[in-house]
Amino acid sequence: MTALLRVSNAVVRFPVPGGLMQNMLFRKNFIEAVSGVSFSIEEGQTYAIVGESGSGKTTLARAVAGLHHADEGSILYEDVDLVGLAEKQFKKYRRHISMMFQDPVGCLSPRLTIRSIITEPFKIQGIKNKDLDAEAKRLLEMVGLSLDFASRYPHQISGGQARRVGVARALALNPKLIIADEPTAGLDVSIQGELLNLLMSLQDKMGLSMMIITHNLNIVKHISDKMGIMYLGKIVEEGSTEDIFTNPKHPYTRALLSANPEPDPDAVIDRIRLVGEPPSLIQRPSGCEFHTRCPFAKDKCVTTAPQVTTSHANHSYSCHYS
C-alpha cells in the first residue's frame, strides 16, 4: 500500500501569550502547539487522532490542510511537499484535501444561505460549467437534509444540522483526503451512524482517505484502521485501532480509554486517574512530558525522555515502563 499522506516531524509554533514579562521569564517567545509529529495515511484508510483537549489536534489538521503554516518538517501529499508551497501551487491540492471544521455554526458564513455555503467550493475553485441548484440538491440528499434547507441561513438550523451542512460542503469537490475535525460532535447516535456510514461508503466507492479527529472513543473503535494518541503536541502512542483498544500501552492512552462513560447507570468503571493539572506549553515538563500527570511515574521519568518502543505490528509508544 502507498501512503497518500506522509507527515514527518511537523512543528507548528504560536507566539507566547502574556507578552514581554513571560518572554523574559522563560526566554522563549513561542509555544510549540505541534511538536514534532510524524504519521502517515494510506490510500483508502482512516486514521484517527485522539488526545487531550488542547494537545494540538486541530492545529495539526490545519497544517495538513494548508490553512496554517508548518514551521518545520514536511507534509508529503502524493510525494509533493506541501510545506512552503506558495498559495498558487497549493490551490491545486485544495480540491483533493478537504477539511470539515470543529465549530459547526461558527464556520458557516452567517450571511450566506445553506445553498450558497455548500456550493461555494465550486466558486472558489472557479468551476463554472456546473448546475449549482442540482449540485446543492445532490449534496443535501447525500447528508440527509431535505431540499427546503437550501434557502435557510445558518442560525435557522440546529447544531446537528449545521454539522451536516459542513459535511456536504466538504464533499462538494469529490476530495481524495477528508480531514474531519470532530465530525460527529453534536449529532444524535442515529444521525451519527448515518453520517459515518455515509463516509465509509464513500470511502469504499471512491477510495477516500480520512483523517478523523475526535473525542468520541465509541466511534473510533468502529471506523478507524489506525490511530494516534496526542499529548502536549506529540503523538505518544500509535498503532492499529484494534491493538490499541485491546492492549493500550502508554499511561495516557490507558487513562483515556478507561475514562469513557458507559451507557449504563449501574456500570462500575475502574478508572485510571490522572494526577495534577494539565501542563504548560510555555514551560514544558522535563523528562517524559507526561510525568506530571502520570499515576505510574518514577524518578527516571522526571529526568529522562523515553525512547519510542515499537512492539509487533507497528504498535509504538513512548514510555519507560509500559
Binding site: F14, P17, G18, G19, Q22, V50, G51, E52, S53, G54, Q102, D103, V105, G106, G144, S146, D148, S151, H155, Q156, I157, S158, G159, Q161, R163, E182, A185, G186, L187, D188, V189, S190, I191, Q192, G193, N197, H215, N216, L217, N218, I219, K221, H222, I223, E242, L256, L257, A259, P261, E262, P263, D264, P265, D266, A267, L274, E277, P278, P279, L281
Partner: protein, 322 residues
C-alpha cells in the same frame, strides 16, 4: 420543592415555507438538587427549549402557549426587566457553541471579571476568583492566559472557559447544552465529577443536554427523551436505561455505538427521517419510523404513566403490549 415547572409549552418558528412547530405541548418539572438529562434526535427542539427558558428565543420564534414557572413565578408573563432580574441571579447557561458565550473582541480575563459585576468585592479578588475557576476546569497557566482572546484557545478550552463562567455566578439552576462534547474523555469525566460536586455544594439543579448516552447515564438522576418537538419518555435514569418503554427510546439506545462491542463498519441507524415540522403528520409523531406500529397509532397517544418514576407516550402501553 420544584425549581422549574414547564407546562404545555409550544414554540413555533415563522419560516419562508410556513410555521415550523418546533415544540409542542412540552411539560416537565425539575426538582431541587436534581440533575435532569435531555436526549433526542438532532433538531428535536432541545436548544429551543432552553432558549425559551432563558428568554433568548430567535426573532422569528413565537412562544404560542404554555407556562414556564421558575421558583414559583411564571416567567413568560413577566416584563423583560423582572425576568432579567430573576434569571440573572438564578439561572446560568453553558451554550452548545461556546462562541455564543464569548465576546470575540474582549479578552477572556475581561469577560470573567465582567460576569462578576454583582459581587461587591475588589478587582483583585475578582481576578483571583477568575484564575481559581479556570484552574478548576483545568486550564493551564490561567494567570497568563487571562490576557488572551477566545480564538487563541482550543475548542475544548473555550468550552471549559464557558463552564467556568457559568459556575462563577453560583446559579440555582444550571442549564448546560452539550457542555462536554468538545472535551476528551478524561476531562469529560473530570467536569462531570466537578458538576456533581458543585451541585452538592451550592445545591443547584442541572438541566443537562447531551448526545453522549454514557455521560447521561453517569451524571443524571432523570432523563427526558425528546423526538420531533415532543417529550416521548421521561423517567428515572435507571428505569429508562434498563427498561425503555417508548419505541423511539429503544431505537435510540440500539444505535449507540458504545453498546456495540463487535467492531462494525456499518453502524445501526433509525430508518427514515424526522417528520416535516412545518407540515405535521397526524397521529403518533414517531409512527413513520416505528417498527411496532399498530392501527391506533394514527391517532395521537397520550403520555402514560408506567410507574411512579417513568412515563411514556405510546399506544402500546395502554394496549398492554410494551
Amino acid at each position: 420543592m420544584t425549581i422549574l415547572d414547564v407546562r404545555n409549552l409550544s414554540v413555533d418558528y415563522e419560516t419562508e415555507q410556513g410555521t415550523l412547530r418546533a415544540l409542542r405541548d412540552v411539560s416537565f418539572t425539575i426538582e431541587d438538587n436534581k440533575i435532569v438529562g435531555v436526549v433526542g434526535e438532532s433538531g428535536c427542539g432541545k436548544s429551543t427549549l432552553i432558549s425559551s427558558i432563558i428568554n433568548l428565543l430567535a426573532n422569528n420564534a413565537v412562544l404560542s402557549s404554555g407556562e414556564i414557572i421558575f421558583q414559583g413565578k411564571d416567567i413568560v408573563r413577566l416584563s423583560e426587566d423582572e425576568m432579567r432580574d430573576i434569571l440573572g441571579v438564578g439561572v446560568s447557561i453553558i451554550f452548545q457553541d461556546p462562541m455564543q458565550t464569548h465576546n470575540p473582541v474582549l479578552t477572556v480575563g475581561r469577560q470573567m471579571m465582567d460576569i462578576q459585576y454583582r459581587d461587591k468585592t475588589s478587582k483583585e479578588k475578582k481576578k483571583e476568583a477568575a484564575i481559581d475557576m479556570l484552574r478548576v476546569v483545568g486550564i493551564p497557566d490561567p494567570e497568563s492566559r487571562l490576557s488572551q482572546y477566545p480564538h487563541e484557545f482550543s475548542g475544548g478550552m473555550r468550552q471549559r472557559i464557558a463552564i467556568a463562567m457559568a459556575l462563577m455566578v453560583k446559579p440555582s439552576l444550571l442549564i448546560a447544552d452539550e457542555p462536554t462534547t468538545a472535551l476528551d474523555a478524561t476531562l469529560e469525566v473530570q467536569i462531570i465529577e466537578k458538576l456533581r460536586e458543585l451541585q452538592g455544594k451550592i445545591n443547584c439543579s442541572i438541566l443537562f443536554i447531551s448526545h453522549h448516552l454514557g455521560v447521561i447515564a453517569e451524571l443524571c438522576d432523570e432523563v427526558i427523551v425528546m423526538y420531533a418537538g415532543e417529550i416521548v419518555e421521561h423517567g428515572d435514569v435507571r428505569d429508562v436505561f434498563h427498561n425503555a418503554r417508548h419505541p423511539y427510546t429503544q431505537a435510540l439506545f440500539a444505535c449507540d455505538p458504545g453498546r456495540i462491542k463487535e467492531k462494525s463498519k456499518n453502524l445501526p441507524t433509525i430508518k427514515g427521517s424526522i417528520p416535516n415540522l412545518i407540515d405535521l403528520p397526524s397521529g403518533c409523531i414517531f409512527k413513520h419510523r416505528c417498527t411496532q406500529r399498530i392501527s391506533v397509532c394514527d391517532t395521537s397517544p397520550a403520555m402514560h404513566r408506567v410507574s411512579e418514576k417513568q412515563q411514556a407516550k405510546c399506544h402500546l402501553l395502554t394496549q398492554g403490549k410494551n
